[in-house]
């Protein structure tokens, strides 16, 4: 029955045949595509009218100058402070807002339409109004970034709550959990992947909002470098903060992902990986 004898021969062969060709690690693929992209940009970027485009080596040179002069560091600091505050605020307000919208029929009927509408608000047109209320300094930037970040977070959370499985909620109800406890102990963890997606989307939007705020209020920070360089037709220099922003956003996204893995380790384990 347990007829191993006849098969032991082929066993070694089979094992070595499988000999899992270890897949190329992810970071190697990532680095390779980035390298290919930079190379292609370097080659084709030189053909673009320099008033409009630039290429990596020129950007690197411009970046080095900005770093050496300390301008980039100063600008980064100026930009990052309101961003961090506004992003944190968006989470603190957006997530509970989304949870309430998703759970409460009345709140959804009463406020949902405003959230949807506000998300479609052309903020650029309303910056003057914000400036009127908040002045030109730190707080107007915070407001602009906050208004751009809070809605993706709230909306994703809201829609995530709407699809939380009924049976999970019932566990809470069966054990007589209060609405608040159901929210915190069941709905929140169940919605976490949506919230995290919202947070990641908000990183991208927030970074863009940061630049917009710096374009349209007091010129400062990374946005200031962009607009000054653009007006000086110094395209290579203009690309430096753009690249910095994109790197920043990528790092922040990775950070959000890492935090997610820490606070919700079950998520990755349960999901499909081949």
């Amino acid at each position: 029955m347990v007829d191993l004898a006849g098969q032991n021969l082929s066993l070694d062969a089979a094992v070595s045949r499988r000999a899992k060709r270890r897949p190329v690690p992810r970071w190697v693929i990532t680095c390779a595509t980035i390298a290919a992209f930079v190379l292609a940009w370097e080659i084709f970027g030189r053909d673009v009218n320099p008033v409009f485009g630039s290429y990596p080596s020129a950007i690197a040179v411009a970046g080095w100058e900005l770093i050496e002069s300390g301008e980039l560091g100063k600008a980064l600091l100026e930009s990052v402070q309101p961003f961090v505050l506004a992003y944190a605020l968006s989470i603190v307000i957006g997530v509970p807002l989304g949870l309430v919208l998703g759970r409460s029929r009345v709140a959804e009927a009463a406020l949902g339409i405003f959230v949807t509408g506000a998300h479609a608000m052309p903020l650029v047109a309303l910056v003057p109004l914000l400036v009127l209320w908040l002045g030109l300094g730190f707080w107007v930037k915070v407001a602009v970034i906050f208004l751009m970040c809070v809605f993706p977070i709230a909306i994703n959370t809201w829609l995530g709550v709407k699809v939380v499985s009924k049976s999970l909620i019932e566990v809470g109800r069966a054990f007589v959990a209060s609405d608040f406890v159901i929210m915190r102990r069941i709905v929140l963890p169940a919605t976490l992947p949506y919230i995290m997606a919202g947070l990641k989307l908000a990183v991208g939007r927030g970074v863009v909002a940061m630049v917009i705020a710096e374009f349209f209020t007091a010129i400062s920070g990374l946005g200031g470098i962009i607009i000054n360089s653009a007006n000086a037709f110094d395209t290579a220099r203009m690309f430096v903060p753009i690249v910095v922003l994109m790197v920043l956003a990528t790092l922040l996204n990775a950070l959000v992902g890492a935090i997610e893995k820490r606070v919700a380790p079950w998520q990755a384990e349960m999901a499909a990986h081949d």
């Binding site: 109800r173 054990f175 007589v176 406890v181 079950w266 998520q267």
Partner: protein, 259 residues
Amino acid sequence: MGEVSLVDVSKQFTSRGSNPHTVFALRRVSFTIRDGEVAVLIGPSGCGKTTALRVAMGLEQASHGHVMVDGREVHGCGHDRGMVFQHAELLPWLTALQNVAFGLEMKGMRGAALHDTAMRYLELVGLKDSWNRRPHQLSGGMRQRVGIARALAIDPKVLLMDEPFGALDAQTRESLQVELLDIQARTGKTILFVTHDLDEAVLLADRVVVMRDGELQEIVDVALPRPRGDIGALRSSPEFGAIRYRIWQALHQAPAVVH
């Protein structure tokens, strides 16, 4: 106290969409489980057992009729009733221990007592060593047992158990049956228990409620002494066989009423 009555309960599900149709999961079902009684609900797949339990628990609102606990109409769930779900329904992000602790926390337990109580009930279902695993790391039977531990831990007056031992091997099942009988004897819980196993029904029940097609078909009294004593001997006794056969008959009867 812990008397539970379904009073003239009907439950229909209407599905909207392209092909609307109505399913009658329960039709004018009335029965009372007396305080401290063990009632077993039995019947073919899809006859409405789970629905009856869910209505009794307060998870489902009856389309018609109502539920009384100790003579008072109740809506919604209460700490007086505890439920073991047919599909365990563990919270996927909590470990086995945390899942058991969840119910206790809802009752207000905290700290060391919480941990110890949860651990004790995990041990009762034989999962002490797996306390740290999340549901997706447990086998089907293990999940089921965590669900049982979670409901037992909150020590409710009324236990509603939906095929709790369905996914368990004979040995584990037997030991949990004994545990349950023991707990019931000690605490006088009222238990409503769904099973497909006739032996289990006879072993546990004071009365067996036989359902069919959403209707109450018959109620069979199980006149066996409590405590049950030597289970092996009981099983092979003629009384046991007779009652088992009565239930079998009730199950195989043509429906009482034709609609």
